[in-house]
């Protein structure tokens, strides 16, 4: 297990290095010159040369790449092009916790509700409850978050005035974004939970447990859920990834000052250092999520050994 852990963690390093190189290349070869955008109407060749020097963009390509990787490894992502008084590291430190908290709450809500509904639907297959849950799953998967968000804002904020339209900092303000962000993962987790539990319930050892007189809740908890957990855990991991990327829409709709909205603003303002850092941070998050999911397999199922 320790060997596997070391191997998997070790594998992430070249992965992140490769990602950093690709991100740097994408920024370097993207159309449009950031210096010309930043100077706008104040552009002159002299002013551009000064700014290029100040930003280190006049150095050889390889030197820029090497400097970027060395600094990124030390969590130094430079300064914002648009506001040079702000270090990108500080921006990440201020905004990333908000995005992670938002995604975590959405996944927590989706997991609790999704597993409950999925198990309920599996225990009472083809019942009215099952059918209603199936309809909810289809709706959750098919309706995009910006539509769900607009409808919820219209009802809860504009019509009934129960919750704020947007913002962050109070539990009330978090209700709608968490629900919107949780909708799709909830549908995924419900569907996978239902399918997984249904499949395990047909296994011989479940029949044996029932036939030896074990009560239904005990069968469900001890035998069914534990064995059905693997695909559910995988889906929860994927749901976290979805919530992290879904935040790009939700944070903008609900004006949440998280990393995703800052990244969107940076794209609109051509703040290349923030864009590159945001991509690198999200890549790292995905790598970490996948690692945690892999490791959880071994923890949850003794049959899984590496």
């Amino acid at each position: 297990m320790i060997c596997f852990l070391a191997y998997r963690v070790g594998l992430t390093l070249p992965l992140l290095l490769g990602a950093a190189v690709v991100i740097f290349l994408a920024g370097h070869y993207a159309p449009g010159d950031p210096v010309q955008v930043l100077l706008g109407d104040h552009y002159t060749p002299e002013a551009a040369a000064h700014m290029r020097h100040d930003l280190g963009l006049d150095r050889p390509f390889v030197v820029q790449l090497a400097a970027y990787i060395v600094h990124a490894a030390a969590f130094d992502f430079g300064v914002s092009y648009v506001n040079p008084a702000r270090r990108v590291r500080d921006i990440v430190r201020q905004t990333l916790p908000i995005s992670v908290r938002l995604a975590a709450c959405a996944v927590l809500l989706a997991t609790i509700l999704g597993v409950t509904l999925g198990v309920g639907a599996a225990v009472y297959p083809r019942s009215v409850v099952d059918r209603l849950i199936q309809i909810g799953v289809i709706a959750g998967l098919s309706v995009p978050s910006f539509v769900t968000g607009a409808i919820l804002v219209l009802l809860f904020a504009l019509r009934w005035r129960l919750l704020p339209v947007a913002g962050w900092g109070s539990p009330q303000a978090a209700v709608l974004p968490v629900i919107v962000l949780a909708a799709a993962p909830l549908a995924y987790i419900t569907r996978i939970s239902r399918a997984s539990v249904r499949q395990v319930m047909t296994e011989d050892y479940v029949r044996t447990a029932r036939s030896k007189g074990l009560r239904a809740p005990a069968v469900l908890l001890r035998h069914v859920l534990r064995n059905a957990a693997l695909p559910i855990v995988t889906t929860v991991g994927m749901a976290f990834g979805y919530a992290i990327t879904g935040a790009f829409v939700v944070e903008v709709i609900f004006n949440i000052p998280g990393m995703a909205r800052v990244a969107v603003d940076a794209i609109l303002q051509r703040d290349y250092t923030i864009i590159q850092t945001a991509v690198l941070v999200y890549t790292t998050l995905f790598v970490v999520i996948n690692l945690v999911v892999d490791l959880s397999y071994a923890f949850l199922n003794p049959r899984v050994r590496y």
């Binding site: 955008v37 109407d41 008084a85 709450c105 129960l162 339209v165 900092g169 109070s170 968490v178 303002q269």
Partner: protein, 505 residues
């Protein structure tokens, strides 16, 4: 049912609170106290240093905290601000400003002549390369400031060849006096924690990407503002700002173009709508560098006469925008009122093409659109259709990423300005008569003479179709009925400082 909904919402909110979500400082848009004025910023201000504030968010923010020598009133007239009055020498080249003796920085220190001098020196510091220095200091040959007892004097000597618009440049919102102690001791990001201003409001809190709170300065030299503070949540999305206004979380917002008709016909919101001119023009720049036929003025004129700007204003912008016959928008000093320019006349346009020998032979034209706002694209689409219909020219519209658009502008492959010696030339228009009018206007001793010459230059540019004005845009603001004393302006985001604003619920 209502109670049930409320219980569900409270339950979910309590659950989220328990989960630790949304911890931190409550968003200002969620709490309203008496006398609090809530106005959004359209994005995170890239800077709080007025000398680098060239975007709307930074401009809106710094404008409320700082003092200029002179300002503009809501009619666009120059009025005293940090200076109580000024004298002009008989030759019109030396301006002496009498500084007020009751202006003080938010630190409590009195503003002196030395502060004004240091501020203008910093603005023009070549090592600092401020963004506003070339705008404010253009045409100024020298300046000095001296303290005479409690009051002070600030003097400016103008270049006789470039004296035009001096007072208007001084009224630019960024030509402000700074508290030297705050700037020098605060380091590179001195403006993050406190401001160096002497305006009606002072920086209380700046939570990046979330909100800015301004507190009232009770010692403001024109009288303490009537609100207790200004809360400025940072809301980049126009639709979100509008929704927050509708939900009662904001007091003043601008109306997105797409929502204008709905708001205007809404029985409640329609009464809260303010519409007034904006210092902005949408125009078409025929550049002969990228489209050879534009070298012939007859072809440019034909294009100008083939675009029905009245129809565009009415049908595309539903009468909200106004057809533009001249270049300088209404509300800006020098607006050429009553000038009619080139009228829509497709028959005459076809004749001009025939005279130029290019009728039916025009190569396809590509119009690059400014991608930053929807209205540029709406105007371009309508103009392209009219050019196709009236002149038979194939027009393609090119929407590029803004960085490429800006690059094209700087390389002069796309658009304006018209003075051939201007660093801002965008359409490679070189007409010695136009340059002479501009040179003479800049050297004219009086504003009246200057205006006459600028009008001649403007008329020449319009009739030469060096630039084809399409429409003047307008401001549309929504203001809550309990907000009183708001003064509007065609510039900036549409409002003056909020020192006269009061909340009367």
């Amino acid at each position: 049912m209502y109670v049930l909904r409320r219980v569900v919402v409270v339950a979910v909110a309590v659950g989220l609170a328990a989960a630790g979500v949304g911890g931190g400082i409550p968003s200002p848009a969620t709490g309203q106290g008496a006398g609090v004025f809530r106005v959004p910023l359209g994005g995170e201000p890239p800077t709080g240093d007025p000398y680098f504030a060239t975007d709307f968010s930074s401009g809106d923010l710094t404008f409320l905290m700082y003092t200029t020598l002179v300002g503009l009133d809501s009619a666009g007239k120059i009025v005293p601000d940090g200076a109580r009055s000024w004298d002009v020498s008989p030759n019109g080249l030396v301006y002496t400003f009498h500084l007020r003796d009751n202006v003080q920085f938010h630190s409590g220190r009195k503003v002196t002549a030395a502060d004004w001098k240091w501020s203008f020196e910093r603005m023009g510091d070549p090592g600092l390369r401020t963004a506003v220095g070339d705008v404010v200091l253009a045409g100024i040959e020298g300046y000095d400031a001296q303290q005479r007892g409690a009051a002070g004097l600030a003097g400016f000597v103008l270049n006789p060849r470039a004296r035009g618009g001096f007072l208007n440049r001084l009224a630019y919102y960024a030509a402000v006096v700074l508290d030297r102690d705050v700037v020098e001791k605060g380091g590179k990001g001195w403006y993050e924690a406190r401001d160096a201003g002497s305006g009606p409001f002072t920086l209380k809190e700046w939570v990046h990407n979330d909100h800015v709170t301004l507190a009232t300065d009770p010692h403001y030299f024109l009288g303490a503002p009537k609100v207790s503070r200004v809360e400025m949540p940072i809301v980049p999305q126009a639709t979100t700002r509008l929704s927050e206004y509708q939900a009662g979380q904001l007091d003043l917002v601008s109306v997105p173009l797409a929502d204008y008709q709905r708001i205007r016909s809404d029985p409640v919101l329609g009464k809260e709508l303010l519409v007034f001119p904006r210092a902005q023009i949408i125009w078409f720049g025929p550049n002969p560098r990228v489209y050879e036929p534009f070298r012939d003025a007859r072809v440019r004129r034909a294009f100008a006469m083939a675009i029905d700007k009245v129809k565009i204003a009415k049908a595309v912008f539903f009468g909200f925008y106004q057809p533009a016959w001249s270049i300088v928008p209404p509300g800006i000093p020098g607006f050429y009122s009553g000038y009619k320019g080139l009228a829509y006349d497709p028959a005459q346009a076809k004749k001009l093409l025939a005279d130029a020998g290019v009728a039916g032979k025009l190569p396809p034209l590509t119009i690059a659109m400014n991608p930053i706002a929807q209205d540029y694209q709406m105007a371009a689409e309508a103009a392209a259709a009219m050019l196709k219909e009236n002149l038979g020219v194939d027009v393609a519209l090119q929407k590029t990423e803004f960085a490429n658009f800006q690059q094209g502008m700087n390389r002069r492959t796309v658009f304006l300005l018209l003075y051939s010696k201007s660093p801002l030339d965008r359409v490679s228009y070189a007409n010695p008569d136009f340059d002479r009018f501009v040179d003479d206007a800049n050297a004219a001793p009086t504003e009246a003479q200057r205006t006459v010459l600028y009008h001649k230059a403007e008329a020449l540019a319009v009739e030469d179709a060096a630039m084809i004005p399409i429409v003047f845009s307008q401001f549309a603001l929504l203001k809550k009925p309990y907000v009183h004393g708001l003064e509007t302006t065609p510039a900036l985001t549409g409002w003056l400082r909020f020192n006269a604003v009061s909340i009367q619920k």
